[in-house]
Every structure is written in structure tokens, then in C-alpha cells.
Symmetry: D3
Subunit: 294 residues, 6 copies
């Protein structure tokens, strides 16, 4: 199912058996409605990661102190959307089946659905923290049920009300914003209420999905549908820092479309957010392990 | 005079007779002194508008609830600046003659002069709210009287002192800044005093001109003369929200030069500002109409 | 089925009923395996066509002397490949049902299959002239039967041996080249044998498909999979000139991916090839009409 | 009138009084109808010239053996087309008044008119050799008489029939091609008849204007209106080599728009063509001088 | 040693003897480890400076009131790093030897070492204010002692502890951050403590080095190693304003790599920061001169 | 010495011990005088190779029938030119020491010197076939002896007269062209005499170096110093086909600078030339082996 192509994410160099977190790419953009190209996201991040500092001055942690494995890319048979999503689901099922934490790199946002589903099958009480510019709550998009524009609605189909927390949303149909009032917890535009949510989710299983277009297009232009008015990079790293206390059992970052940003700053931002999120997730696991050891 | 070429701005799909606001393009960049290309602004905005959400989460309003008409582009005979400006003036005169509100999409900033003049001819007591990075208050530019760099000075020639309010200005000659102290109300760098100005202009006729280069180049690089240190997109939408109470009888957005921004984020920002400004203007008219009906 | 969005191809301005040729866009790139983006092809060509001379100095013909209609774009529900192809098939069936000639603008090469199929259903004795860099003769591609890489093989499934003529092929699996020896007539690299083929097809119904990547990437870089070593623009217009004597009852040009060419030369080339092919096809019909009139 | 701004064209470093050829820039693009930006042509060529080899292996000549002067750029008051053309005319009048040869670097093609006019005023029997993709023979363009699209027609207004030789023309209205049959000598598409023309013009005064878009867009994409199907760089240098025998008393190269070519190959081609043309022109003068000295 | 090539920085037009500040370029990028191209920095800034307003609305000062000289570029023999650094050292020694203030435009950050060394040789009590995204405190980089990644460590070799003040640092090895705790004064991420530092350095000789990548990549993408999470342009100009009270005896701005930013906003930001820093430095000197005159 | 980073060139997947040809990258651009960036060449080619067809329709050979090994990239300590060249020399010495054929992917052209030297040390009677736009015969460049502009002169220092054959040369100093007349065999502009040279070198050991800028910039814009007037891709593949009969014991392709070509066509051309050259070289070895087996 996993297919190593361009080598590994640098510093994700542990063996699979040792690793706590298994990173993999899902280069799928089959339902992207505007500018395609997130299929090139994993490749771009791998290439850029090679030059990245392993030390985070934000968290004062270093990736070399932890164990990450790069499982390569899930195979995506272009033109067969159903099979592509199955392959993602299979990969994540296998990783959580081995009691490891999956960290998926998209690809468009629809890839979150099979990943989250596989995690939910193992942990049916999972909560979803969702960072995004878009609500992604349509019931269908041009008649299509499985779409980047419906993905959080499909996740809701699994877990129901009061389990999904949305941050930074600044674009959507009127109907989506109205639907959200009944079924999810949504903060429009910003992420100020995150601390409170984190406090409430302490001890719960949490899946984190970051659609990188939550960032302002000035710092992240390389995405399919840039939406001005986003949060800053500092806001995002601050938010990730707050996640440290949570029991994250799955996560993803999606929607980097590198060909639309020749300056490379979008990929640079994606890599740092990946580093911060991986460290935030593993720090919790590490603390927990220490306690278990005692 | 109006010449429909590339189809309509999506959602500006009412017939002319029904419409309250008539949108049109003025693809003129004949006096641009640095990087030309604002002639491609209307075309780029029309293309991008097609995918834009009609719902504004900022204003909680939806464009589908109002009536906009796209009148196409004014004909610009390249190499004949005088005739180009005449055509713009004629188009706006015709629109305001029909008691509709013109919304012009530039083109360079000089297009504001014939548009504002046509509005002023009907409403001689009109006030001008001017968002821009540049003062545009030179009396001439390299000996030329009608120029993007003199346009607000030419508007002042029409209305005189105490009628022009300038926001966000961060570039100009020393003489322009000194001249402004006597003749206009200028806030340098920022837009904090807008609320106060809006309070004072309640009940007055107002023309709003937004030179999009007031935005920071990080969010709006696609313009002829990018000036670092601009306001954020959130500042701009916030400012537009404050305009809701005003009696806007004409408006324009200018200086998008899309070829200088391959990422497309400048056009995305322009479209959203256009949506917000159109909604802010029509919301006022709609309230007024209700009162009139009663 | 047809959905007019961004206005018409300039000079394709006859009404549907009058028109001999009906042009439409098929903005589909759902099976593109390398760089996506041909979905933007019709839009780019429409925009560029506006400035194109209607007169061809190659053919000494002028588009204003003939009747073309732009039917807009076929609706493509992103994420539903089957339905997308159905919509294309329906549009072409309708056009040929009205005894008009369809001229499709892709999109990726797979769109040729539903278009050719609809033409073949009406004219089962149709021949296929295929210009391309790639053989497109795989039986499946990563397990997928309907793909840009299998499209000519799928057309062969309809018409069988001795009906397909391929020119300019310079890339493919060894198996494809071997298979072609048995089932199609293929000229590798160049198009020198076209005159002979045209002579043999005089009086036969012919469908012409031009994958624009037959052109050298130097003149046509804006495509998903550029293959160096292609034919020149002059070779291509020369080839089209030779097609004048044929009874073309359907045609398409595909694989322009404009975002990969910021210079715009690819779109310029596509427009001129479209003009030349439309004129070549209509010139034959015009001659035929004169004869019929007598 | 001349205004040195960005320093000199490298190797055009003689003083004005010594120089045989005076090079200057005319950064004017005020009537460009499609993509503007030729105003950046002189600046781009100067910058690139710095790294160019002075030796031409085509002509086996070296620029260091001759005397060229860079007079800087003509002042272009943006928004005042008439004055801009006057300034060019004045600069060329002054250069030919001093019995030197002007070599103008555009800017758009309209700059040829004031330059050619100033040369014609001194040498009323001058012939014009015109390399271009476009006929430029319209009598007016959108009602405008002085335009890049009318420039050769305006030159004809000065010299009349049988004095203009056009090469490489591949785009224009049907009317232009028909008009040319009566009034100029035009070779469509190619330059094969140049040798014959050169033979006939031996001993005559000749002005050479090269619209660089005669080159194929593959080698020269950085221009306002790229037209596929142009001549190769080798064809162009070959043509320039043939000009060596002529008495060139004025020349220009126009229509480089460098911002539309991020690769820089257009500017590289322009520089080499400038070097070749300057050497071809001076080689003739040098021979003549030798004879005069004796 | 100095070699005038592309003409002068506009408004740096005083003669050398008159000038208080001597600006020069150091187009060196010989140790850049990721994306090279800062060699094009001086050229890009010179070209852009031509259109820049001389008046600073931030400082309410105008460059035309002061005397700056542009000394051209230091010669950089590509492939000879040692000699390149020697040439820079020689240029700065000569400038400070004439009691003028050097203002160097890089190039990569390593150029600061020979410049700072020459200043330190004359003023051994000099302090260093360092704005940067990177700590640049490695002792060696891949075994190389003189590198953009070691440059501040090399400066420390000269002046020792308590003389270096670092601001905005957000990337580096864990070891660098730890080393800084002992040997420099470092503010991570931001520049809030600058006022305090300035107060303490009143009356001391200060060298200011600005690695422009301290700016957020959104406003300054054109650099070798963009690091998201930087300070804003307004923060930077605010910081420069605070430097006005200091006795600046040398300064530089480095790491503009213009080819990586086709929008040009990075160069625009660099020019304005250069203007602000030059004005801040000269304002202090001017005050001092007044006192001396008395 | 060899350091595998980004994974392997696809289809260069044999183990080292089995392989006949060992491919490796030399990402060095330390003496590039104009536009740097060839350091990104190996990475770009590896990424692109993944999608390349293994079958060559030119040679009717398939890479899957032969054994290639990818040894990764030579370590390049940025800022230490001497050590970088030593590392390349060491890698090639090791490969030829194992009786394998090195195939180096640059990097700038200077990398050919240490590679050729290592081959020459084993095979002192080696001949050099050199494809290039530039003569590269300077004795020094700005005082530097080891430079991309001197590399063939340095190779001549090793082997002397009558051993170097240069093709396609179209740029250089007058002195270089004159020097070549005495010491090398040079064909200017084209490659017509290659067949004759190949005939004469039958049975001799040959090293082939291809500076990809021999190609016309239209098909290969992504290089440091594009020179218009180059050979076509078809010419180049034709030339490689002629090399089949030779005993190639070392080879390289250099000077791809991928960041200067956003369309990707340069990398596509480089990959195909690499495939053709590898197949041409191995075909000879395979024939030889067959004979040996008997």
C-alpha cells in the first residue's frame, strides 16, 4: 500500500517499528475544483525539509530527540477516486493498528476523510480539531458527495454533533455557516477560543486537521483557493503550541499546491508547521510515556 | 459607450433597468509611470469572480439578495488618452443620469477623475473618501496634468477644501504632504480615524475610491508601484464595514495589475473587496428604500 | 448540457442554428497523471482569441466569411469522471444530430473518447487522424481503463484496425510502439506521410484530434507533459493546410495547460492552430455546399 | 533631450564626438494595444549587455575595434504621446545632424516613425528595410493614426511606393496584405528574398528597423504580441550578415518586453542582434572611411 | 578597488569628497548554501531606487537634504572567496580611513565580516546591532569557517562578549541558541527590547547589519532562505527610527536575492529600508556637525 | 564520499556491484559568473526522471534492459571550492577503479575537470568530445584558473593537442577562437563533422561532456548563460545516436539551472538527453561484452 518514491522526509528517519509517528504523503487532488496541484505537496515538502533546522525555537524541542518514520506516499491511481481513498484508508488503518500515530501530508482536503475514518474506527470517541479558511460543510458539491468542499460534513456523518471544532473559517455558503450553528463549534476568522477548547478536550482522543489555507495568502499563496484575510504564521505556531497538552492520535496538513508559488515561501511555511505539529504531538506522548514508565 | 466583451462579472447578473448598482470596467493604464498592466484588471476580476462565494461572512450578507448589473468595459482607444477619459465620463454620466450607482473597476487611478467628475456634476456637494498608499496630490507629473499621480489634486480642483478624506497614505513628495495639510484631511499610514469621518459624513453624498495599493504588498503584490508598509486585508474589510451607514453614490477600485502576481492572490483580494464594497453600498440603499416605501 | 460562462470565443459569434461548426470547451483534466491544469485551456483560448487576427495569411481565408458558433463549456462535475464524459458525449451527439460539425477545445486528451464515440455513432465508417507526441495506446494506465494515456486505444476499440493514423509520436512504452505496428498507421517523430494519407482518405468521413503537445516544447511549453523533439509550428500549420481536401465531421484540440506557461506563447499557438483548423474544415464544407447548390 | 540614467550600454563607451554610431533608448509603449512593457526594453538590454562577449563569431568582428557611444534614454513624459515622439525626433535629428548614425532601442514600434522621419528629413531618398511579424500597415487603429499598428503606413506617407521592403510578415488584416501588394515589397513568413533586395539597394541610403517579434516566440517570448511561426535566430543573424554591404544611415530594434520572459532568453537574443546589427553597419562605414582616407 | 558598473544609486549622487555616507555594492554569494542569487542584490536595488520617493514620511526627512555617494560595486572574482572578502575589506578600510561612513549593500551575509572588521580596526570599541532571522553563530558550517552561517560568530571573534545585540532570531541549531545565552544579547522572534539597547548604546560607536530576511517572507520572499514568522515592514521601519540617536559608523543590508521574487516587492522593501537607515544614520551625523560648527 | 540524499534516479536502480554505469550528481556552481543555480540540477533531474518513459524510440532501446546505479550526490562543502573538486575527483577515481563507467550530472561545467582528470589518470590516452555553446578555453577568468570558463583549457593541460573535439561553439573571446585553431578541433555553431570524428575515434577511449547550453535557449532556457542560435533537440539526439559506436569510458551532462525555467522544459530535455546518452554508451559496452562472452 505504501510506496516509497522520492526518499524520506529528512529527520523522519527512524525505522517503522521504532517510530511513534508515521508520516506519509497522500498526493491526491482529484476533486479540486479551482486550481489543482496539491498532488505535488508531499514531494515539495520532502525536498524542502532537507534544509530545515530540526530545532524549534518556538517549542524549544529538537526533532532529533524523537522517533519519526517516513512511510512514503500512498499509491494514487489517477482517475480512480474511490480506489485512491481506499488506499489512504488502508494505510491509516494499518498505522493505527500498530498503535502508531499517523501524520498525513496532502494532497487536497478530501484525503482527511479516509484518514479520519480509519482513526475513528479504532477510536470511535475521537474529536476533530479543524483549522481552515473554508467551512467544508456542504452536503454535496455539484452533485458530488465526496469532495474537498464536503469533507468535514462527511466527518460529521461519522461522529455527529459536538465533536467537531472549527477555527479560522472565512469562506463558505450562507447555508454552511447556518448549518454549523447547529452541528459544530465554529470560530469565524480567528482562533482565539482554542485555549478553551483544548482545556475541554484534555484527556480525550483528538484528530487534528490543518488546511494550510487558514494562513493568510501573503504567507501561503501556494494553494488552490487562496482566501485573503487569514491568520498569520505566528498565530498558527502559537495555536500548535497550545495543542501540546492533547492526546493527538492522528493528524494531517493539506492543500499545499507548490507550483502556484514560485518563491517557495508556502512550502517553507508548510514544513515549519509540520515540524511544530509533529513536536507538539510527540511531546505529549513522550510525557505520557515517562509517567507510564513510573 | 459600453462594450460587453468577456461576459459579465458573475453575480452582477441583473438587467440594467432593474439594477441599483452598475458595475463596469475601465481598462486604462495610459499614464502609468512604472509598471503598466492595470488594463488587465477588469478581465482578471471577472474571471476570478466566477468562483467567489456570494456570501460575505464579514457583513453576513449575500450578493444574491441584491441587484447588480455588469455593463461591460468602457471602450479605451489605446493611444488616445483624452478620448478614453471622455468615454469613462460618458458612461458614468449615463449611469447616474438613470439614478443608478456606478461601480468602476480600473485600470489605473486616473480613471477616478472622469468618474468622479460625472458624479460631481450631478451631485456637486459630493464628498470623496480616498484609500491609497500614495497621496496623488501633485499638480503635474513630468509636466502632465492628467496623471495617476495627480488624480486627487484634479478632484480637488472640482470640490475644493474640506471635501476630501485620505487614508493610508505612505508615499509621496514632501510637497504633497505639506499641501495636504492645507487642503485635504489626510491620515498617514493607517485608517484609524475613519469611524469619526463616517460619523461626520452621515447623510452626505459620498464617492469612495479605493486604490488597492493601500494594501500591503504582501497581500496585494499585483500592482504597478507596490509600497511596503500597507494596511492588512482585515483592516480594509473592517473599514468597508464602517462605510455601511453612508450614502454612497459612486465608487471605484483601481490599480490591480494582475500580470505582476502569478500567484493570483492580488486578484482574489480585489474580488473580495469588490464584494464587500458593493454589499456595504447596497445595504444602505436598501434600508433607505424601505423607508421610502413606507 | 452546455453552459455559457465566460462569454464566447471571439469570431465564433453566429447563432447555433446558422452555424456550420459548433465550438465548445471541455475543461476536464481528471486523469492527468503529471501536471494538471488543462481545465483552464478553454478559458485561456477564449481570452486570447479576442485579440487574434481573423485573417489567415497561411490559407488566405478570413474567419468573418464563415459561420461559427460558440456553445460555451460542457459542465464538468469535478470528482465525477463518468458523468463528465457523459456530458461531453451528450453535447457532441446533439451537435452531430443537428448535422453540424463539433469542434471541441480540451481539456486533457481523454475528452476525445466521448466526442469521437458520439461522432462514430452517427458515422460508423469514420477515420481518425491523430497528431500527438504520445502514442496513447496503453490498454490501461495504473489499472484505469479510461485515461489520457489510453484514449486512442479506446477509440480503436470502436473502429478497429486500419482506421487510425498517428503522426509525430515520440514517446510511449515499447509495448505501445509494438502494438501500433499491428493495429494503427503510425509515423514516428514527424508528419511527412500526411499527404499520402490525405490522398487515401479523400471522400471519407474524418475526425481530427490534435494533442497540441505534438508541437515542440519550445513553442508549446504550456502542457502537462512536455516532450522535447516535437514538430515546429510551421510544420503544424502546413499539415493543417493539407487537411483542406478532407470531409472533416468532427475535431478537437487538447492539452493546453496555460498556467505552466507564463509567457503566453502556448495559448497564442493554440489559438492560431484552432483558427487554421476551423478554416481548413469549413473551406471543404463551403466547396461542398457550392456543388450542392448547383 | 538625452538623459543618461542607468549608465551606458557596455562597450558603447566612446565619447559622443568620436563615435560613428550613437545608441540610445526610447522607452515608450504608449500605444501598445495588448501587453505593455516595452518601456523596460532599453534598461534590460543595458543590464544584459554587460556580460555579453564583444566578439561575434558570426561576423568575425569585435566591438572593441569600433567606436560606439551610448547617449542614454530619450525622456518620455508618460501620458503625453505627442511630446514623447517629438523628443525622439529631436534626438535623432541631432545625431544625424552631426553626421553620426543613430541606433535606437525601443520601446514599441511606433518609435520608428519619429526616428525614420528625422533620418528622412536629412536623406529624403532613404529606403526602409523592415523585419517584423506584423504588417503594421493599417491606416488607423481604433481611430488612432499614430500607433504601433500603423507605423509602417506612416513611414510610407513620407517616402511613398517602392521604397519599403518588408520581411517575415505573418499577421495582419486582409486589407493590409492587399494594400501591401500595391505599395510595398513584402515577403510573407520568411526572408529568402533579402539577398536580392540588398543587391538592388547597394549604394543607396538605408534605414533598418527590426521588430524583434519577427523571431519565433520560442526564442523571443518576451514581447507584447507573440506570433508563433517566426524565423529562427540563425535566420536573423544570417540576414544581418547580408546587410553588411549596405550604407545604413539609421537603425532600430524594437518590441522587447522583458517582464513577459522570466527566463531572460528574449533579452539575450535582443543583445546579440543588437551587436550583430551594430557590427554590420559599422563594417560598411569603416570600409568607406578607409577609402575616404585614401 | 571600486568599480562603477551599472551607474549610481539614484540620489546617492554627491561626489566622494563631499559625501558623509558612501554606499557601495558587494555582489558576493559564494557561500550561500541554499538558493543563491544575492549577487544580483545591488543591481536590483539601484534599478528600483530610480523610481523611489526621496521623502520619508516615517522620519519626515528628505534624502535631497543630505550627501550620499555611490561608490559602485566592489570587484568580486567569482571562484576566489578569499580575494573577494579582501576587496570588501579594502573598500571599507579606505572609506573609514577618509572618515566617511560605509553603507554596504550585499550580497550574502558573509560580506558583513570583512566590512565589520575594517570598521573594528579603526574603532575597536564598536558595538554590533544585528537584525536577522538566523543566529549565524555556528563555529563552522560543513567544515567551512567563513560562511553566511558563521558570520556573527566571526564578528564575535573580534569583539568578544557583550558587544553584539541580536534581534528577531527565529532559526538556528540548538547549539547556537545555547551559545548565544553566554556570549551575545539575543531577542528571539521580535525586536521589543531595541529601545532599551539603544538607550544603553548612546554615545558608543555602533555598526548596524540588517539581514533583510528578518522580515516576514510575505513581505520579503526574495531571499535565499525564507523563514516564516518574521517581523513586519512597519516593525522594521519603527526599529530604524529608534536608531536615530546612535552614532552609527558603519552599516549594511544583505540577503536580497531578487530573482526569487518576480513581483518585485522584496526589492521595493529593501530600497525603503535602505532609505530609512541612511536617513536615520545621517540625521545623527548632521546634529553632531551642527554642534561641531558651534 | 558519495552521499545518497533524495533517493535515486529512477531506473538507475541496480546495485553498485552489478552496474556497468554509475550515475551521480555533482551539485556544484561555485564559479558560475552569471546566473547561479546549477546546484539544483541533479535534484531536478532525479525528480523528473521518475515520470520518464524508459523506452527510447530514437534508439529503439529500453533502459530496463541494462544496469545503471545511482550513487547519489557528491558532497559539496559550499565555500570550499578546492575540496568540492577533490570530492568529485575521488568519486570518479573510485568508480573507474572498479572498472565502471561514471556518468556525472552537474552542476556547472567546471565539474568536468576533476571527473575527466580521474578518467585520464586511468586512461591517459583518452579523447574528449565536447558539446557546448562556449569555447571554455580561457587560460584564466578574472584571474581565476579553475572556472567554468577555463575548464576545457584545463583538460587540454592534461592531454595536449589533437585530443579535444569541440562542437556547437558559438560564444567566446576572439582569443579563444584563435587559440582553438592551434590546439583543438572545433566546429563552430553546428555538429556536422561529428560522424567523421566518430569514425576516427573508433576503438579509442572517449570521454563525452555535454554542456546542455549547446541546445538553443528555446528548448533549454534553464541555464546560467543562455546563448541564442543553438542546435535543436533533434540535432542533439541525432548526435548521441552517432556516438553508439564509441568506447565511452566516462561522460557528463552539465549546466542545467532549473530555477530559471518555470515551464520545466529544460529539465525534460536534460532527462531525455541523459537517457539517450546512457543508452548509447551502454549499447557499445553490451556489444563488447557479447564478444567477450564468446
Amino acid at each position: 500500500m505504501l510506496n516509497r518514491e522520492f526518499g524520506s522526509f529528512a529527520e523522519f528517519d527512524s525505522g517503522y517499528d521504532d517510530a511513534e509517528i508515521v508520516v506519509f504523503g497522500a498526493p491526491f487532488d482529484g476533486t479540486t475544483s479551482f486550481r489543482p496541484g496539491t498532488r505535488f505537496g508531499p514531494e515539495a515538502i520532502r525536498k524542502e525539509f532537507y534544509g530545515l533546522e530540526t530545532y524549534s525555537p518556538y517549542l524549544d524541542m529538537d526533532m532529533t530527540d524523537y522517533k519519526f518514520h517516513d512511510g512514503g506516499d500512498v499509491e494514487i491511481p489517477i482517475g480512480n477516486i474511490e480506489k485512491s481513498l481506499e488506499n489512504i484508508h488502508g494505510a491509516v488503518s494499518s498505522i493505527v493498528g500498530d498503535d502508531k500515530i499517523p501524520f498525513m501530508v496532502g494532497g487536497e482536503h478530501l484525503v482527511t476523510y479516509p484518514s479520519f475514518k480509519a482513526v475513528w474506527e479504532k477510536y470511535p470517541d475521537v474529536y476533530l480539531i479543524h483549522f481552515d479558511a473554508h467551512a467544508d460543510l456542504r452536503d454535496d458539491y455539484l452533485g458530488v458527495k465526496l469532495s474537498h468542499a464536503t469533507v468535514i460534513r462527511r466527518c460529521w456523518d461519522l461522529v455527529g454533533d459536538d465533536r467537531i471544532f472549527q477555527f479560522g473559517i472565512r469562506s463558505g455558503d450562507r447555508e454552511e455557516f447556518n448549518w454549523a450553528k447547529e452541528h459544530t463549534t465554529m470560530e469565524k476568522f480567528s482562533i482565539d477560543s482554542l485555549s478553551e477548547v483544548v482545556d475541554n478536550l484534555k484527556g480525550k482522543k483528538v484528530y487534528v486537521t490543518i488546511d494550510l489555507d487558514i494562513l493568510d495568502p501573503s504567507v501561503f499563496p501556494g494553494t488552490g483557493t487562496p482566501e485573503p484575510g487569514g491568520i498569520s504564521f505566528g498565530d498558527m505556531t502559537g495555536a500548535i503550541g497550545k495543542l501540546k497538552g492533547l492526546d493527538i492520535i492522528g493528524m494531517d496538513i493539506v492543500e499545499l499546491s507548490p507550483h502556484y508559488d514560485n518563491t517557495g515561501i508556502s512550502t517553507a511555511a508548510a514544513c515549519k508547521i509540520m515540524r511544530e505539529l509533529a513536536l507538539a504531538a510527540v511531546s505529549e506522548k513522550f510525557d505520557r510515556k515517562e509517567i507510564e514508565v513510573e
